[in-house]
Amino acid sequence: MQQKDVLPMKAEKADKRLSAKPVISGSEAVIRSLIAEGVDTIFGYPGGAIMPIYDALYDFQDQVHHILVRHEQGATHAAQGYARSSGKVGVAFATSGPGATNLVTGLADAYMDSTPMVCITGQVAASLLGTDAFQETDVIGITMPITKWNIQVTRQEDIPGAIAKAFYIARSGRPGPVLVDITKNAQVGECEYEYVPCTHIRSYQPVPELRLDAVKEAAALINSAKKPYLLVGHGVLLSGAEKELIALAEKAQIPMASTLLGLSAVPVDHPLYVGMLGMHGNYAPNILTGECDTVIAVGMRFDDRVTGDVSTYVANAKVIHIEIDAAEINKIIKADVALHADAKTALQALLKEVQPAKHEEWLAEFRAADKKEYDKVQHRELYPEAGELKMAEVVRLISEKTKGEAVLVTDVGQHQMVASRYYRFKNPNTNITSGGMGTMGFSLPAAMGAKMGTPEKEVVAVIGDGCFQMTLQELGTIYQSKIGVKIVILNNNFLGMVRQWQQLFFDKRYSSTEMVNPDFVQIAKGFFIPGKKVTAREDISAAIDEMLATDGAYLLEVVVEKEDNVFPMIPAGTPVTTIRLE
């Protein structure tokens, strides 16, 4: 909009033509449009078909920071980490063909985990489309099912409009990834430039209207509930509804449990917070889904890792589902009352209608079940006195030493579950993990993005040895761009979660799960990143202190118990109430 005034206009061009609008290349229009959307950081990798855009970027280095990643997948996960920590839209660049296909995993991950991201890909010239030209791939077709929206732009004059729409769609409603594919001829062609932000698309209603009769119905259910129960999902964080959620919980004394992606919406030490849901969540919040009489599910989608056997899940409860995406309502669990709305709006309305209440006995049930888990599992995991190092004690120390205030970025598997269970989150948007997709290799690049998005925060990536080796080349990015992330590898020389399943469900037939690993500290050293390897319990505390005291990136490898299992556990597809403590 007005931004064009603050940008350096190429003077000679502006003078030559009497038009009020500057005439610039499509590539320059891309960069100016991004700046108009407030973009200050781009993660990307150049290549043939996107070179004109990179050339335009060269003139704007003072306004846009481009982070050269080592693989395009890393660009997407970094953009995700950036978006999840900062709340802004993450941006990634890639060239056509293999550059574009390398974005696929990150796009799918962002789509599943509702992450606002705009990917811009270069494409062969429009005249070559469909001819199997060098590095041509049908990225629009490939990414159609894994993007919230995508578009191919073949004319330079359409670039600002496409980018405006992309950002509007990525960040509005239920956020998600968007891909804009720009052909080379559109990048080099010139056009008049004017940026008009998108505020409306006639076929798209991102913010549904809250039905007040549904709010009244929901409030009536809550007011008459003996055992009400709040399930906190990612939607709470996405809509910034943490305060409203906690106010509602406090007013009617309702226990709150979190999904994996909802973690950090409620401080772990809140008296009404009862823990994490799901396959490796806490005992009390899982087992008591069988007891509650009213469930208030906020911004969550009843993933199968949360529900276990759907037919028995919250079977004795009335279900109130607060959800911005209509397609999620009644998809898995039938809602007795659906509040199709933004979580914040719905919770604000609900807060007015819900009466103060006390549920002492109900809350006591959680404490009793929680004690059972603590005695049987947590105590020995968190405070072992002998034997090999446990993942949980490492996470506990990191949590204590960062006061629960770091941004915790986790990968996928045992270490992820342990870190999610034992890190004591204090502030919203400090949990970044790959939930829906379960993408191994997510966390190293995501941590880079998170650090770029919130440089004032300590960012700690907790990574398994298997996951680390999927994207470890991003150590190069961390070194080159001086990104101060702390990397903790919990090394059990196994693909631990798969091994755990093999132990429990495949008769200990450890098929292709044992890893013969390299020297991770040496690898870090190769990238000029300091590091240390710890194998003994007495060394771990000082090593974490050293890591946190280091200015800049640091890699800490911790050798942990080889055949440790994560408990509690709900075997896949079984009722949640069959949760096992050992």
Partner: protein
């Protein structure tokens, strides 16, 4: 229980929109048995009429996921009794069979009509429901059916007035 349903989808005019819609059926393993699409009375708004064999429960979810697409206005599942519909078929018959007296009666009784006649063949057009159109093939077989071609479904939704008002409002607001 599986049965035949009509799904209608109102969309913006956009390259690839068919693909966006059909992959949602594909994901759930639902076969599309016919698909008709054309511009509605509102310029720029297209209507897809899709017939599928599936269950109501599954289709309600599919329609939700279709509606989630940015360029979709609305999508609906209709039971058989909620729509008035027609399909159209063309039948190519050898002209020699005209010598047989019965063809005239057959065309008249089945409310079909002749579209064109050449020295070699003639083309009959008939509208109706799928079953009537395929039954007519059997009746024509003795006359030497050369080719048969049937359209997808065209449907009018019995309760659709309000939605069309909504579309018209959209149109006037985007013109304003």
């Amino acid at each position: 229980m599986q049965k035949e349903y009509t799904v209608t989808v109102y969309t913006e005019d956009r390259i690839g929109i068919t693909n966006r819609i059909t992959i949602i059926f594909t994901r759930r393993g639902i076969n599309i048995t016919s698909l008709t699409t054309a511009e509605t009375e509102i310029p720029g708004v297209y209507k897809f009429i899709i017939t599928v064999m599936s269950t109501r429960e599954k289709l309600d979810k599919v329609v939700g996921q279709i509606e989630r697409l940015i360029e979709i206005h609305r999508a609906f599942v209709h039971e058989e009794e909620e729509v008035v519909y027609q399909e159209l078929a063309l039948y190519k018959i050898s002209t020699k069979s005209l010598d047989t007296g019965d063809i005239e009666r057959l065309i008249r009784e089945n409310q079909a009509r002749i579209l064109t006649i050449t020295a070699d063949y003639f083309v009959i057009e008939k509208t109706g429901h799928q079953q009537e159109l395929t039954d007519f093939i059997k009746k024509l077989e003795p006359y030497g059916l050369i080719e048969y071609s049937k359209s997808g479904r065209v449907a009018i939704i019995k309760w659709s007035r309000r939605f069309h008002d909504h579309l018209k409002e959209l149109q006037s607001s985007s013109e304003a």
